[in-house]
Structures are given as structure tokens and as C-alpha cells.
């Protein structure tokens, strides 16, 4: 296992992510500058909050280009919750462009489908295919979600797992070395430990 750099840009539950990485035996550190990102082995982008606020904070710290450059080297990157939505081109939640690392957008859940928004609580994630990121997950693996927007990747092959909430949506995505999880693995017991442990070994 190699060290995981957790991007510290003022959003997201860094303490929880670090606690769980420690539990699965992976070292982690908080990074907040382009130079630190460039020197990282793998990066984890957490995030709780609004899309534009997240992109603005990344830009203010010079991290937008730094993360694109990092990904271009082929090293692994995982976005969690809002951090996953930022990987795409844009979101209905805001007007700012996303990181554009995976083609697609984020759309709001509609109450018209008879659901409460946000989607808050435990739900299943059903793998679309085998992948080292989800190796070892049992069929009834469940994860903790809190979100009002869902990602819609342009390419079906980028969807790694789907979850049903009013509509089926992509709860995990992966395009090459760029990965995302809509749920909070750091708060999803042994199921989340498996995902974070796998990421630390990619």
C-alpha cells in the first residue's frame, strides 16, 4: 500500500477519511498545494457542499491544473461525494466548469419520482463489471449516501456501479485512473473499508 494524499481545500470530512485509511493500514496526509499534488502517489478528493463553491476553492489553491496534470501522469485519483461530481464537466447545481476528467454532468434528483431529496441513508451499490477498486465486495454491500445530485456520465462504460433511488444512477464511476464514489466509503463500515483499501493498493 502506498500513501494516499487527501486534498485539503476546505470542503469535506478529512478527519473521517484519514481515520478509515489508518484503519485499513494505509498512510495518508493532507495536501493543499500544486507541488504537494505533483509529488503524490495517489490522491483522494473528498467534498461536501455545493459544486461551484468546490470548484472555486480548488481554483483559488491552484489545484484545478495540478489535478489535471496529476491525472495525465496515469496515477490514481478517487473523488468522493461532491469530489466525484467535480470530476465531470459540469453540474445542474452550478455554472462553473468541472474538472472535466470524465465526460458527463450531474443532475438533481426529482421529487416527481416520489422520493425525498436529498438521498440520505444506506443503499446498495450493484457492480456493473469487475474492477480492482471493488474486488472483495459482497453482493449485499451497502453504503452511506447524502446527496441531492447524481452523476450522469456520457459513456456507459465509465459506470462501475449503480444504485436505485427513484431512478437508477451511477454510484461509482471509473475511466482509467480516474475514479469516483457517490457514497461515503469512510462512513460505510467494512464495505467502505474494502473500497478504500483497494484504492490504496491500485
Amino acid at each position: 500500500m502506498s500513501e494516499v494524499s487527501i486534498i485539503d481545500y476546505g470542503l469535506g470530512n478529512l478527519g473521517s477519511v484519514a481515520n478509515m485509511l489508518k484503519r485499513v493500514g494505509a498512510a495518508s496526509r493532507r495536501v493543499s498545494t500544486p507541488a504537494e499534488v505533483a509529488a503524490s502517489e495517489r490522491v483522494l478528493l473528498p467534498g461536501i457542499g455545493a459544486f461551484d463553491a468546490g470548484m472555486d476553492l480548488l481554483r483559488d489553491q491552484g489545484l484545478v491544473e495540478a489535478l489535471r496534470d496529476f491525472v495525465a501522469t496515469g496515477r490514481p485519483m478517487l473523488g468522493i461525494c461532491l469530489g466525484m461530481q467535480l470530476l465531470l464537466d459540469s453540474s445542474e447545481e452550478g455554472v462553473t466548469a468541472g474538472l472535466g476528467l470524465i465526460p458527463g454532468v450531474s443532475r438533481r434528483f426529482s421529487e416527481a419520482s416520489g422520493i425525498r431529496v436529498p438521498h440520505m441513508g444506506w443503499n446498495y451499490a450493484n457492480p456493473s463489471r469487475d474492477d480492482p477498486l471493488i474486488t472483495g465486495l459482497a453482493d449485499d454491500s451497502r453504503f452511506y449516501f447524502v446527496h441531492s445530485y447524481r452523476v450522469v456520465p456520457d459513456r456507459d462504460e465509465d459506470v462501475l456501479a449503480t444504485t436505485q433511488y427513484g431512478v437508477p444512477f451511477a454510484s461509482m464511476i471509473r475511466a482509467g485512473n480516474v475514479m469516483g464514489a457517490q457514497f461515503h466509503p469512510e462512513k460505510s463500515h467494512a464495505f467502505g473499508m474494502t473500497v478504500l483499501g483497494n484504492f490504496a493498493q491500485l
Partner: protein
């Protein structure tokens, strides 16, 4: 399909120890809170609520050392309440790795604190806890400071105001039922759940798994219990328990 209803153990802490009162009084010593968190973690509970019940009454503020110990053992969502008075408190708690803050006394002594904290952390991290006691003449009164001070609102009025001020979740607790194993006050749950659109968590009186289903039918989005998960048998011996995952999931069907 809708999201699964959550089943939430509530741990009450006093002076650093896990306690279990009955009707908000006569605290029984139950053990070490960190050990309890560890056991609930092994049992893969949906979520935990941890409240320092006399932090506000004694004015001791937030016990950050305890919160750090809890966060390092809790790999599930955790809500923490007790002694929170400001955005700074709330930010520090969530920064340690706690998902939600629970506001009780301050939500009534300084209601604008709900808005301030909700603006800073988001509504889904801002929970207001409402302690309700039956009136002799029917209906309920809302109390703070461990059931010692009436606030002059019904629980439904208090819940609606909290939602309007930014609360993303309401815990409604029956003072009369706490620790009595006599079932939830379903009419109370119904009165609060029908007043707001945010999720309502029922607390106070649960004695068996079937009580969860009835509280959900009364309008609760999630169910919580203290005594049922930490005490066991005729003599109420300390024994931490939690239903099996498939039983918890069955509530969603």
C-alpha cells in the same frame, strides 16, 4: 424503492461516562462510551447519536477529547449533541470526523444559531432535538435543560420553526417514555412528522423491534432507541445489542 429507514442507537454521556436515565432522571451507569461505540461499530449500526446530556446544564461546553476518541472508532455516520453554542463549535466537531451536530438547548435560547450552523455546515448536518412531555390537558409541551424548563411551544411548532430556520432533521423524544420500555408515543411522532417535511427520528420508549415498524407507520423516517440497545432482561443488565442487518433492511420493504 425508497431509502432504507435507519435504526439508530442513542448513547447518553455524562461527565465522560455512558449513562442511561429513565424519564430524564436517575442516571444509571452503563460503562465506557468508547467501548460502546466500538461494539456498535462491529454490529454495523446504521448511525449513532451521542449526546452529552448535561454539558449545557453544567455549562462545561463541548468535550472535544471524547469526540476525537469516538470519531477514531466510528466508521458509520455519527451525530453529536451537548454544549454546542456556535458555528465554531460545530465546525470543530465536524472537522474531527462527526457528520452531524445535534442542537437542543441553544436551538431555543438562541434560535438563530440553527440558521448560522445550517448555513455553515449544510442542512443535512444540522439536527434539532425536541424533548416533549405530555400535558395533563392533552397535547405536549417542549422542554429544554434535561426536561426542567418549558419553552412555550408544542413539539410540532418547535419542529416547524426549526425546519424553517434550517434544520435538516428533527429528533423527537418523549420524556414520559424514556427508559420505560413502553413503546413510542406514536401520537407525538405523528404530530411532529406531519408538521415538517424533513426527516423525523422517533426516540423514547422502544422495547422491541415491532415498535420500529409502528413508529415508521406513524410518520418517522428513522427510529432511535437507547435503553433497548444497552440494557437487557428483567434486571436491565448492561448488554449492548442491535438487530441483524437483514432484519434492519426488512423495515424498508
Amino acid at each position: 424503492m425508497n431509502v432504507f429507514p435507519r435504526v439508530i442507537p442513542v448513547l447518553l454521556v455524562s461527565d465522560g461516562y455512558l449513562v442511561k436515565p429513565v424519564r430524564f432522571a436517575g442516571d444509571k451507569y452503563v460503562g465506557d462510551p468508547i467501548n460502546a461505540v466500538r461494539i456498535f461499530n462491529e454490529k454495523q449500526v446504521d448511525e449513532l447519536v451521542i449526546c452529552d446530556i448535561d454539558a449545557s446544564v453544567r455549562g462545561t461546553g463541548v468535550n472535544y477529547g471524547l469526540i476525537e476518541d469516538i470519531a477514531s472508532e466510528a466508521f458509520m455516520p455519527v451525530a453529536y449533541g451537548g454544549g454546542i453554542t456556535s458555528v465554531a463549535d460545530a465546525r470543530r466537531i465536524t472537522g474531527i470526523g462527526i457528520e452531524k451536530v445535534v442542537l437542543n438547548t441553544v436551538a431555543f435560547t438562541r434560535p438563530e444559531s440553527i440558521t448560522e450552523i445550517s448555513t455553515a455546515l449544510g442542512a443535512s448536518s444540522t439536527v434539532v432535538s425536541i424533548d416533549a412531555k405530555k400535558r395533563m390537558t392533552g397535547g405536549w409541551d417542549t422542554f429544554i435543560r434535561r426536561a426542567s424548563k418549558r419553552v412555550g411551544l408544542t413539539p410540532a411548532e418547535a419542529a416547524l420553526r426549526a425546519q424553517e430556520l434550517g434544520a435538516g432533521e428533527i429528533i423527537v423524544s418523549s420524556i414520559d417514555r424514556e427508559g420505560t420500555f413502553s413503546g413510542y408515543d406514536l401520537k407525538l411522532v405523528e404530530s411532529v412528522a406531519s408538521a415538517v417535511t424533513v426527516p423525523v427520528v422517533a426516540l423514547g420508549g422502544a422495547s422491541a423491534f415491532d415498535d420500529f415498524r409502528t413508529a415508521l407507520e406513524a410518520g418517522a423516517s428513522a427510529v432511535a432507541a437507547g435503553s433497548m440497545f444497552v440494557l437487557n432482561g428483567k434486571h436491565r443488565a448492561v448488554l449492548i445489542s442491535y438487530p441483524a442487518p437483514e432484519q434492519v433492511r426488512s423495515l424498508g420493504i
